[in-house]
Symmetry: C5
């Protein structure tokens, strides 16, 4: 996640810089060509430009809204994971009779959220799990497709084996289901990209529109064409790029939902709850980016 | 579901190719006609084109949003089914005393999601159920309208017959209700198409708009009319087509929610939970499409 | 609910035919008048037409979205009713000790959904209730304002009187509350029309806009005015009409949520669950309309 | 709530009549002034008018959507109150052993919804409470800030004091929480007006826009300026006014959510459930308005 | 939160005054320059202005909607906190056997909401906690990262230690989870700013657009350029500013969700529920602003 204050001009130029340079070159080429062949030039009239512009805006506006909704849902699901982890820890410490088991449940939940982060980012979780789970359990997890889900099931078994009152077991079952639901939602976003029509078409149309732009503007704008047309193209390209950035929130990119920071935060809260002297600090941003 | 990377140019041309060729032919015909009868031609002025364009955009934009919302709700309901299946399996294995019954409940849930997939795609489920359910139960299901619902009810009876503590039965009842709700939501989307006014009118108006387009543009664009008017028509036809693709997510088409992959995924997770050596692999995409 | 395939051209003409004919007549009259008095004619310039057009589009677009949201919420609430009915029946058959009482609960729920359908469509429910409820209960219902709610309360009493374990009673209480909530939501939509400002103003403004349209177009379009102006008017009138159709989903009109089919479907599912040989078939569409 | 059929022309003129007359006067003044000083007049060109028009439309469209969302959420929360009241009454009558206490709970809930209505409309509730609650309780309520909340808490205490099974107490606790949530949501809407930027700016900009309109139109429209500019202004002023009407739904105005009718409806349903001969009739609209 | 009636002209000028003055100066400079160099001036034609205007409107409209959604979600979460606090207090007083403990739970919840307010506004909570919590607990809280969460966990332990019936403990667990969820949602909004692309780009583009505006208008507007262009710029700058104000609702600014008033309100309600003579009054607005 990019933090406020970082998006200075250098970053923005880096952001859409490459297509912008190409666009500027094309705009200059069209203008130069126009001066050379002016007499036989037939203007590309303004009407379709406006029409195309509004149709492209419909695509981009829809895509933008949808991409942001995916990103924000991903963030909200991690928020739900934070809440459910706290609730699970609080219930374990207050409702389970055996404090040892309660602490084990809390530690398992810490291992779980780290495993889930690695799972969503398609990284191997073994380094994170070492020391957090018993070695033989880590061993068994190697054959399993969905590692966090397997950890979670075993946490449930740990709680059930305490012989706690069924009522309180039912309360735990609800919290465990909340955790399952949050994980399932994250996997849904991860595994279901924005339908390709929404991903590919806006890109094609926006780029095509930027190519047509100087053709339509050169007759009225003359030498100012590269300026006017590059500025307008910048707006549309930036709108396109924002959608690209936001649509996949678990890709280990700078626009990701900050999973590392969130899982560290859960770990600190849960260990604070256990009263452990963990010495952990919240994740700090690197170059203005929180991972 | 079309996977990223597949929507190359060939696919896109295939996508709106046929109407586009017809559109191009019409645009050329209008332009040719205009050159022949130019003197008596009366321009179709630009004002109504813009007006029509924005009215058509209102239709298409609404339809697009709604069709995507249906698709995404369908996907979300399957996500809820994944979550509830995992929760049901976890609760069965941890809360039911008899491990045999628990395994039977898990296997029944696997049969259920396959039956639901066939039910939504209007296919006969018997091949999928063979070997997954007892032969006599499959027999009895032949007379029933809603096969997955009948399987689900029997799973509920299996759990209730264990004589488990009422509290835990109530926990199961909630998970079973979640499954019912997800199935009901899917049937709602399947059985209630987008109101026909939203399906038919945008199609009529978009095609009509594409027919009028060259008439309005030919006077200003001249020989460039086929280009300008086909490009603009392409945008509008593509917007129309996207809505068509997304609105019905359970039709066994390439834009479907990937039911086969989802049900296979549930089966793998649940069998992993039982510790079975199932040898199943996630469904792989065929030609860039995940079914 | 109009089924796909029915909205052929004849239906569409029927749909906005009458206002369209009036519109065409007005457009022709304006054009004819313009030819007679051309010299003293002062054009109605294009600027306000575009301005009015976009303001009218804001109204229609908002109304369209809202009307569809009402319709879809009505459909979703009936979906919730389907789910809750199945859950109630399943819980009755698996959790109640006395199979006789369970069957009575299921039959009562069938009577309830039929009564609710009649209640929403402001029809008398007595024919539907005859034979489904004991005669003396039907008798007592005559004095009651909200018949389905009274049936529902008595179902609750029937379940409570079984002396079932409080835990399971609580599970039933939740399902019964879901049913109450769905009914309450339907009554909300039924009793609260779209605020009149949204119902009346768009109609006034759209019709007014259609009247002004030929005045603004006649100078540029000349003899083509009736064509151009009627086509544009058609789009706006159709947008207006769609909103009218969708906004009230329980009016016994062809655009209704298909209550008859839904309640029949619930009845079949519930009787299948009881193992009854009911011989009922799903409701078939009549002339392409599912009621 | 204004009922369908009432919004006739007279009502609409009353609705935006005053600003419309002022607008017309201004439009005429501008036109007259233009005829007098025509030679030195410099047109206010059309470009900024269109630009301003679309910017104002962004404001109005956003505000409209938000205001309606507030109104509809208010209505939905009252729908939830209807549902929860019925559920509370049904549970009281079926799950509490002592019918006397059950009836007292139902009567208290009736008093509660009336008190809540008065609370939201900032009216004193004492007339409504007299006879519905014991005199000494009404006495004690005089010192309390939030009267309905205090009544509600005491209802909870009444139920808890019955010594009912904890499971059923938990079921009641959930319904009581639903009621709390609905009340809290209503208070949120009541106490949190639309942010002032959204309330004040659109008003300023719309009025400013209406003032500039004739200046921009007079050159092209000439003597028709007052007509064209007043019609366009009417649309924008009406859009502004709709937002004003809808944004605060508990103000004892004609656009209110019909609290009086809703609370009466709850009272009838609950008394019907008790089998009382109450003789109450649903609230009838007065002059087409349901309060 | 700014209260109705305060946003008078002075406040508005203060609001966007500074950029507006700069804008006006720039508009005047462009116009003056145009008069001096008129012969060699080449107009910046209107087409890109309109195109840019609509692209900028897409950004601003999206950002506006999103910023308001964040603000309203923040308000709704605090509404949920009000509801859950009341429910917790009501349940404590009616379901816990020991009135002393119940009162302690209520007092702890008051301390909790004050601590949460300070936590969200990044202020030290110690003054608020003094006297509300035992001194030794406040001591221990100094080492903890998330103070309100730690208070909340201890409240849960207080309730669990009463040895209450597990059923009722489960009811408390649900309310405590609701409180956790509300807090988690607030932290999500606090810690996750609007993605920087949405925060920075609209600002750049809006300011850039305002700079280009007089260049495009000066040829047609002449001496009226500063007026027309400043008015149009005002609308766009105001739209930009509204988004800025609303997007971060916990910053101790005048547009904040009124946390001080909300927490005071919770304290009054809860103390009224205990029957304490607290003498607290609702927070009054200062200069039309409710903090």
């Amino acid at each position: 996640m990019i933090l406020p204050g970082r998006a200075h001009l250098g970053h923005i130029l880096h952001y859409v810089g490459k297509p912008l340079v190409w666009l500027l070159a094309w705009d200059i080429a069209v203008t130069a060509f126009w001066y050379l062949v002016q007499p036989v030039w037939i203007e590309f009239p303004s009407l379709p430009i406006t029409l195309l512009g509004s149709a492209v805006a419909v695509y981009l506006s829809f895509r933008n809204t949808t991409a942001y909704a995916r990103w924000w849902e991903a963030r909200t699901l991690w928020g739900a994971m934070v809440n459910a982890s706290r609730t699970l820890a609080r219930d374990a410490l207050t409702l389970l009779a055996d404090r040892q088991v309660a602490a084990r449940v809390v530690h398992r939940q810490i291992a779980y959220v780290h495993a889930l982060r690695m799972h969503l980012r398609r990284q191997t979780p073994w380094d994170e799990l070492e020391g957090r789970l018993p070695a033989d359990e880590v061993e068994r997890l190697h054959g399993v497709l969905n590692v966090p889900n397997a950890i979670h099931s075993r946490t449930a078994a740990t709680i059930a084996d305490t012989g706690t009152d069924p009522i309180l077991l039912a309360t735990f079952a609800r919290t465990l289901a909340d955790i399952s639901n949050a994980q399932g939602g994250m996997e849904r976003i991860k595994n279901t990209p924005l339908p390709q029509q929404y991903a590919v078409y806006p890109a094609i149309f926006t780029h095509g529109f930027c190519l047509l732009l100087p053709l339509g503007l050169v007759e009225t704008l003359g030498l100012y064409t590269p300026l006017g047309s590059t500025v307008a193209g910048f707006l549309f390209l930036a709108l396109l790029q924002i959608g690209n950035d936001m649509q996949n929130p678990f890709e280990n990119k700078e626009d990701d939902v900050p999973l590392t920071a969130l899982t560290r935060g859960i770990e600190i809260d849960l260990r604070d709850g256990l009263g452990e002297a963990h010495g952990l600090q919240p994740v700090q941003p690197v170059d203005g980016i929180l991972w």
